[in-house]
């Protein structure tokens, strides 16, 4: 087991820079998820850690040693691929033991390691089957087993759940988390699914256009996003963004959304945004769960307003309501008994204690 460090790592393909100078420190035992849209460089970064891609610039260290020119087999890593990449002509046991057999481990040790990994993954009954006789979930378990038996310094996962159906994905997600709790191997996990990232990671690395947008725990990213990209990428349904500006009314800071709609800023927030120029074009960032039905007694900082709903989506435990504000579609989450109906007026309330204010031009969260 070991820590992994990336120092100003760059990957260039001819003219295109896929990864543009990444700095990342992954602690021993840590589970780090790289997440971002396709083409953001997350898979390339993982493949550079694995040694499957050359590094154009910068350094990668595993356990303190620079591994830039170390071939994959000497990096002591194990990788799980999206399409499992099981050897089709070998049984489950042979697949799992292939790496150990190449390194000439004693037969007895190979056998006990395979048996232990199989027990951990609950695939003991499948040990003599060929991959084509297995379901997708079982294949993924075998692929993980192949990684576990090697007892490597680092686990690398490249979108391992993308080929599974939704239900199995949730199940395997929990499985991966359990395995990590048992073996505690440093893990780098790549996915485009923010839910996977949030649920699995100790820390999430959000990437975009070959750069790191933000690194943080799932809660930090959710509640304190650094940029508009992170704010919109993390969370489902996504955060709402409404054009707004600040103005002073009677010595108090107000948030003006439309000509007719302005809210007084809660005192804590007012202090934070006092220095923002009043002329700046701004965006109000507010998550759907902070737009709720208006109640009789509203907490301080929760401001009511009237709107006409476009569409409602009853989810059972809650109802998602969509309405338009200054040309932007806004989503709120109300109680299923709040009487929300398509096309009907509804009095809602916005919780400004949990608002974010963004610079519309730079996308930076203020």
């Amino acid at each position: 087991m070991a820590e992994v460090s990336l120092r100003k790592v760059v990957k260039r393909y001819d003219e295109v820079e896929a990864v543009r100078g990444i700095d990342l420190d992954i602690a021993d035992h840590e589970f780090v998820v790289l997440v971002g849209p396709s083409g953001c460089g997350k898979s390339t970064t993982l493949r550079m850690i694995a040694g499957l891609e050359d590094i154009s610039d910068g350094d990668i260290t595993i356990g303190g040693d620079i591994v830039n020119d170390v071939p994959p087999k000497d990096r002591d890593i194990a990788m799980v691929f999206q399409n499992y990449a099981l050897y089709p002509h070998m049984t489950v046991a042979e697949n799992m033991s292939f790496g150990l057999r190449l390194k000439h481990y004693p037969k007895a040790e190979i056998k006990s390691r395979v048996a232990e990994a199989a027990r951990m993954l609950d695939i003991t009954d499948l040990i003599d089957r060929k991959p084509k006789q297995l379901s997708g979930g079982q294949r993924q378990r075998v692929a993980m087993g192949r990684a576990i038996v090697r007892n490597p310094k680092v686990f690398l996962f490249d979108e391992p759940l993308s080929n599974l159906d939704a239900k199995l994905r949730v199940q395997m997600r929990i499985e991966i988390k359990k395995v990590h709790q048992k073996v505690r191997t440093t893990t780098v996990y790549v996915t485009h699914d923010q839910v996977e990232a949030m649920t699995l990671a100790d820390r999430v690395v959000v990437m975009n256009h070959g750069r790191i947008e933000q690194i943080g725990t799932p809660n930090e990213l959710y509640h304190k996003p650094a940029t508009r990209f992170v704010a919109s990428f993390i969370g489902s349904p996504a955060m709402n963004f409404v054009p707004c500006r600040l103005e002073d009314v009677g010595g108090r800071l107000h948030l003006r959304l439309t000509d007719r709609l302005a809210f007084p800023m809660p005192p804590v927030r007012a202090a934070r945004y006092q220095a923002v120029p009043r002329t700046d074009k701004l965006l109000l960032g507010i998550r759907p769960e902070h737009i709720i039905e208006a109640r009789q007694h509203l907490a301080p900082g929760v401001e009511p307003f009237d709107t006409v709903l476009d569409v409602t989506e009853p989810m059972g435990m809650e109802t998602l309501v969509y309405f338009t504000l200054e040309g932007s579609q806004v989503c709120g989450r109300v109680n299923p008994n709040a009487g929300a109906q398509d096309g009907a007026p509804l009095r809602l309330a916005v919780d400004l204690n949990n608002m974010h204010l963004l610079n519309e031009v730079t996308g930076v969260v203020l």
């Binding site: 499957l52 087999k73 990788m79 990449a85 050897y87 292939f98």
Partner: protein, 303 residues
């Protein structure tokens, strides 16, 4: 006023049940028809060969029904199988084919692996080049090749012309490009992640080839082997040109040079020799047919 009754069901139309299966039945009939025509067309010559091989020379030249054997005899078979000369041709052919197949596989499998997987400068051009060499007809090559071997003989004193083993240098020029091409297609259809997984598991390029690629691509490998064997077994032009002494001849050339004496055709033995010569590839095909078809198509569609 008369009451108008409207038939709510509307005009009844006769529903044609089973039109799909009728279409299929016709398709089946047509395919059987053409298969029969094709089978008759391609099986008539071997049948005629078999009939003729069972006749004595006297019966062949007699003006009886050529499609019937009146006095069946194994005389031709006995004569050929007890003649040292014929057995010599047979063994020459067998040796040449087996060695050529071995050489071909030893060259084309690693070559295909390199061209399909190791991305090096010019690898794509080289792969196309390999295929282009296959397109050059052998009738164009035999004179320059003859000249080359003659020159080698003059310079080094190593006599290759009129030796059966000269064919071991020539046949691979035909089999290696095609087999390499088949194997490139087959290797290319193996997912990239499979060799990446092997590399991370600690396999070298050579181990990846021998322990992953060859077992996974076995049907393609068998297809290529059969092809190489068939080409070397049935080759006629090159052995005709390069070998002349009777102890150096391979089967196809041996049959026509020794069994046609001047203008006397020993038809019975010619037919028998041809039938016996066709047997080995036939037996190989019969056993490996399924692999052969799987190999050719899998490489073609997935690549």
């Amino acid at each position: 006023m008369s009451t108008l009754t409207i038939d709510k069901a509307g005009p009844r139309r006769k529903v044609k049940y089973g039109s799909m299966s009728r279409d299929r039945a016709w398709a089946l009939r047509w395919s059987y028809f053409f298969l029969t025509v094709f089978a008759i067309f391609s099986l008539t010559p071997p049948l005629y060969m078999l009939i003729t091989s069972l006749k004595s020379s006297a019966e062949i030249s007699a003006a009886t029904n050529p499609w019937w054997v009146y006095h069946p005899t194994l005389e031709n078979y006995i004569q050929l199988l007890t003649s040292n000369q014929f057995l010599r041709f047979f063994w020459n052919s067998a040796w040449v084919s087996i060695i050529v197949v071995t050489i071909t596989m030893l060259i084309s499998v690693p070559a295909a692996f390199a061209l399909a997987r190791m991305k090096f400068w010019g690898s794509a051009t080289l792969a196309t080049g390999v295929f282009l060499t296959y397109l050059i007809p052998d009738s164009l090559l035999f004179i320059p090749l003859f000249k080359t071997f003659a020159l080698i003989g003059d310079w080094t004193g190593i006599q290759l012309i009129n030796r059966w083993y000269v064919l071991l240098f020539i046949y691979p020029t035909l089999t290696v490009p095609f087999c390499t091409w088949i194997m490139i297609g087959y290797f290319a259809s193996i997912p990239k992640e499979l060799d990446e997984a092997a590399i991370i598991d600690g396999a070298s390029w050579f181990q990846t080839l021998t322990r992953i690629f060859i077992p996974v691509a076995l049907p393609g490998l068998i297809a290529a082997t059969i092809f190489a064997f068939t080409v070397s077994w049935a080759q006629f032009l090159y052995p005709m040109v390069f070998t002349t002494s009777t102890d150096q001849l391979v089967l196809p050339v041996g049959i026509i040079t020794t069994l046609i004496k001047g203008d006397v055709f020993n038809w019975g033995q010619i037919m028998t020799g041809a039938l016996l010569g066709a047997a080995p590839p036939l037996i190989i095909y019969a056993f490996l047919m399924d692999y052969y078809i799987a190999g050719l198509t899998a490489g073609a569609t997935k690549g």
